[in-house]
Amino acid sequence: MKTESHFAFFDEGSKKEIRRAILKAVAIPGYQVPFASREMPIARGWGTGGLQITLSIIGKTDVLKVIDQGADESVNAVSIKKLVNSTTGVKLVERTQDASIIQSRHRIPEVPLTEDQILVLQVPQPEPLRKVEAREYITKILHSEDDYSGAWLMLFEQIMKYGKTSTGADHPVYVNNRYVMAPSPIPRFDNPKMHQSDALILLGAGREKKIYAVPPYTDVKSLAFDDYPFSVESFAGKHCHLCGATEVFMDELIDTETSETIYQCNDTSYCMDRLNENEEAEVKGNYV
């Protein structure tokens, strides 16, 4: 596979088919375009949707970053990076600013993305109405008739049960005021980053064989009732125990020595960047 494989693993026909699906997805924001999901060298459910998009859009000059739940160095991210690198030879990076394609599982990076970047999200369940309607045939009709009472009903039930909407991730969004879309299991914290995003956002579900997209500068609105407005996870008063960052999405950890609850940036490359900056500033300060 290392030396003999085709550029970017796929044959040209496969890439063409997936690119066509992507183009259609971009043309109809939020609409789930079916595509012939390929058998991949990683298991379905491990990011095959995102990987197929990445492999079909990547070029020799692209620079790739892969994150898994915010981390650049988790096994899943590393395996995907290795596969893409060994079949294309593209440069791999960790800094968000240096990448041209960012494949991600369940997070949008803290650093705002730019027009020159493409964000590829891995999606386990692309259908926001699946929990209320099991049949694909029916959900297609519901989408076509703009009937999203099922998605609203799920939020209503949460409010009835818990007194607030309790979506931990994957809070449904309206895209371009037409289609309701599952934003992939990103935390609610990341939902507003999709609204009027500078970067193109592509979402791929390999097991469910669907590709959809949020083109740059598209309205993305999280579903919320009039008297229960949408809110993101709050980290007020918390800061990263490594770099001291505030107002970012943080992981809650237990300090093994003191047993205290501590917080740490979920986005590892963002944290690393800040640590480097801090150190640089310190060194400069000492030198002068």
């Binding site: 009903l153 209503f156 009835m160 009039d226 008297d227």
Partner: protein
């Protein structure tokens, strides 16, 4: 001065199968019951025409297989008609258009805003795993409501009016008895104050005391809210109690229609006579 009907149905026709030379002309069709012995095409509804007036209850009786439920499904857009027209008059933009020819979005609008439906089997009308209050809210959400407090209070009022104890309102209908499920379904159908309500065999399968409860409720709704209803039943006692006017169907055709008293006391058609006199 004549009252204007709220729902006009003209020549509603529904067949299952393509038809053949022997059965395709509507004037001299040779059918065995409601199907063609040659090609097996079923003519479930043939040329049904009737009017529903504001505030009235229209009863539809007939034996099983006479096309009652198929007609209801067609009117509620659950099934597509083969041909026919229906008009809803209540000052809406599609007032003078044939509702069967509207786009599916417009039909959904009518379903969500103008219609209420109570199915014979609550499984069809309710989401059994969602709370009762959520089930009612679903209809309100579909009709465009986006205010939780408002929907909750509407649901509570409705559940109270159908005698569901409020402490069970957050429970799923799957935990309820058949009669309670039916009452939740009625509450759901009423939630957006629809001008037209369809009731398909609502009391079939319920025990007598619960039947009486549900019938009382329907009568009360008609009196207090002035909702027009089409009630399908094969139970003449239910029709006698509820309906102002009655249509008798047999093999997909309307064979007799008139005031309920008139039909039950002085039936004209041989089948109606048989039906009325076979009452125990």
């Amino acid at each position: 001065m004549y009252e204007e009907p709220i729902l006009q149905v003209r020549n509603l026709h529904k067949q299952f199968g393509p038809g053949c030379v022997q059965c395709s002309s509507s004037s001299d069709r040779h059918l065995e019951k409601n199907y063609c012995p040659n090609c097996g095409t079923v003519y479930a509804c043939q040329n049904l025409s009737f009017d529903l007036y504001p505030g009235e209850i229209l009863g539809i009786v007939g034996e099983s297989g006479s096309g009652k439920s198929t007609m209801m499904q067609c009117l509620y857009f659950d099934a597509e008609v083969t041909s026919g027209e229906a008009y809803i008059a209540d000052g809406h933009e599609t007032a003078y258009e044939n509702v069967f020819e509207l786009s599916s979005q417009q039909q959904r609008f009518i379903r969500n805003h103008k219609y209420g439906m109570v199915y014979q089997n609550p499984v069809h009308g309710l989401k059994m795993n969602f709370s009762s209050v959520g089930n009612i809210a679903e209809k309100l959400i579909a009709a465009g409501n986006r205010n939780v407090a408002d929907m909750e209070s509407t649901s509570k009022t409705l559940l109270e009016s159908v005698h569901i104890p409020l402490f069970r309102m957050k429970e799923a209908p799957k935990n309820f008895s058949g009669g309670m499920q039916q009452r939740v379904q009625i509450a759901k159908a009423l939630s957006n104050n629809p001008p037209i309500l369809f009731l398909d065999e609502v009391t079939t399968g319920l025990d007598l005391s619960v039947q009486a409860n549900v019938l009382d409720l329907i009568k009360k709704i008609q009196r207090e809210l002035g909702i027009s209803m089409i009630v399908v039943s094969h139970d003449l006692a239910v029709i006698r109690m509820l309906a102002d006017r009655t249509i008798v169907m047999l093999n997909g055709r309307i064979i007799e229609e008139g005031l309920t008293d008139q039909i039950l006391e002085d039936p004209q058609h041989a089948y109606t006579q048989q039906l009325v006199y076979s009452l125990l």
